[in-house]
Structure formats: C-alpha cells, structure tokens
C-alpha cells in the first residue's frame, strides 16, 4: 500500500513507544468484537461474549489482543518489509485459521480508533494518516499469501 517516509517512521515509532500493548491489545480486539459482532465467529472458544462489558472484560480477549498487538509492534520495526515480516502469519491465517482478510482491515481501523481515544488531540490528522498506512500495509501483508 504505502511507502513510509522517514517522517512517517519517526511519527509511528514515537507514538508506539507510548502505547501499553497489553491494554491497547485487549481494547482493540474487544472493540472489534463489539462494533462488528460477526467477527466473533473466530472466537467460539473464548467463553462469554454475550455483552459489550463481557467482551471487554473477557481474559481470553485481552490475552489474544495483546498477542495481536505485540505482533504489530514487530511490524513497526520492519515497515520496509511488511510482506516478509508477515509471510508465515499470512499462511497461518489462510490455511489454518481461515480468516477473511477483510477482518484485518476492520481490526486495523479499530486500532486507529483506540489510539485516537488514548492520545486525544495528539492523534492529529497527520498521525492518523501514518497509522492508517501502517494498518493498511499490515492487512495487505497478512493477505499476501492467501491462495
């Protein structure tokens, strides 16, 4: 999707340094499951997803959210080679997890909302633009090995 300028990279890394990956991860995955409830189809084994508060407080959601965002943190260190960084995860999501790549776009957008919520005014249009580039790049990289 995008080429990351040096300015993009500086913006992205500096904000990411202030992100609590555990909290943001749980928040992001939780929000995805609440705002787009059909995404719950992948998480039948997660237990109680019966209400917004059940979802946001669910320990499996938090744990998995943390895992997902930790992986995104790796992406941020490798913005110039997202396809390489996510090659194996892409195969996994296609062959084993059977996740429609549209879900990666939804999750990416929710992450941007969570960052906006957390950082408030600091999350300027320019910062948003940089992060939408990141999440679009990650979504494409994760879809890249689908067949």
């Amino acid at each position: 999707m995008g080429h990351f300028t040096e300015e993009d990279k500086a913006t992205i890394t500096s904000l990411w340094g202030k992100v609590n990956v555990e909290d943001a991860g749980g928040e992001t995955l939780g929000r995805l499951l609440v705002v787009y409830p059909w995404t719950q189809r992948f998480f039948d084994s997660f237990g109680n997803l019966s209400s917004a508060s059940a979802i946001m407080g669910n320990p499996k959601v938090k744990a998995h959210g943390k895992k997902v965002l930790t992986s995104l943190g790796d992406a941020i260190k490798n913005l110039d080679d997202l396809k390489g960084t996510f090659a194996q995860l892409s195969e996994l999501h296609c062959d084993k997890l059977h996740v429609d790549p549209e879900n990666f776009r939804l999750l990416g957008n929710v992450l941007v909302c969570v960052l906006a919520h957390h950082f408030g005014k600091e999350f300027t249009p320019q910062v948003q633009a940089a992060y939408q580039k990141v999440v679009a790049g990650v979504a494409n990289a994760l879809a890249h090995k689908y067949h």
Partner: protein, 141 residues
C-alpha cells in the same frame, strides 16, 4: 433495525456533537483529505486551498444533515430523500468512500470525547452511519 438501546446511544452521541457541528465537521473533512487524499476529488472547491472558513462551513452543513438523520432515525429514507437524490444525480460519490468518512468520524469522536465515547456508542454510531450511507447511495441505480 435499531434496538431501543441503540437509538438511545445514537441520541447520546449526537448530544456530544451538537453545538460543535462546524468544528467537528471541519476536522472530519480535514482528516478525510489527509488520510484518504483520493476523496479530495469530490470536493474541488474545498480541498485545493484548505481554507478554514470553507471547511467549517461545509463541515457544519454535513453534520447538520447527520443531526437531521438522528432526529428521523426511524424513517431515514423519507428524511434523506432530497440528499439521496443529490448524491445519485449530482455528486455521485462512489459508495466505497462512505466507510472512509465513517472511519474518520469515529476518530474525530474518539480523539475529542475519549472516555465519553464508549464502545457501545461507537457500535451504535457505526451501525447508524452505515445505514445513512446505504440510504444516500440507494438511488444510484
């Protein structure tokens, strides 16, 4: 289509926007143009000069229409019919662009309202705006 709880949450979101239509509307457009530059093609009068007054004025107009939609959320088709005609016959904004605007709307609300904009409110608001977009593009063909 909308539960009583969703209706209440949509009204709650609007209460947080009311009075700030120009400010939020302008920021919405600025984010749209910054994050998704291709959307500028639909706003030639606005996007070339980033004139703050024009953004505020157009932003105000757009959000006023959203506010009207909130007042008539149970009969959107009737309430939005003139705007649907405008979009079908004159503006012809490709339907793929509405989710981009909706995303920017969530970001405006999340960044300004923070904890006041809860996850349930976001869910209801997303559902509502998606419904508005459907109505606005329904007469395209």
């Amino acid at each position: 289509m909308l539960s009583a709880q969703e209706r209440a949450q949509i009204a709650q979101v609007w209460d947080l926007i009311a009075g700030h239509e120009a400010q939020f509307g302008a920021e919405l457009l600025l984010r749209l143009f910054t994050v998704y530059p291709s959307t500028k093609v639909y706003f030639p009068h606005l996007s070339s000069c980033h004139d703050a007054t024009q953004l505020l004025s157009h932003g105000q107009r757009m959000l006023a229409a959203v506010g009207a939609a909130v007042q008539h959320m149970d009969h959107l088709r009737a309430a939005l019919s003139p705007l649907a005609d405008l979009h079908a016959l004159v503006l012809r904004v490709d339907p793929a662009n509405f989710p981009l605007l909706i995303q920017c709307f969530h970001v405006v609300l999340a960044s300004h309202l923070q904890d006041e904009f809860t996850v349930e409110m976001q869910a209801a608001w997303d559902k509502f705006l998606t419904g508005v977009a459907v109505v606005l593009t329904e007469k395209y063909r």
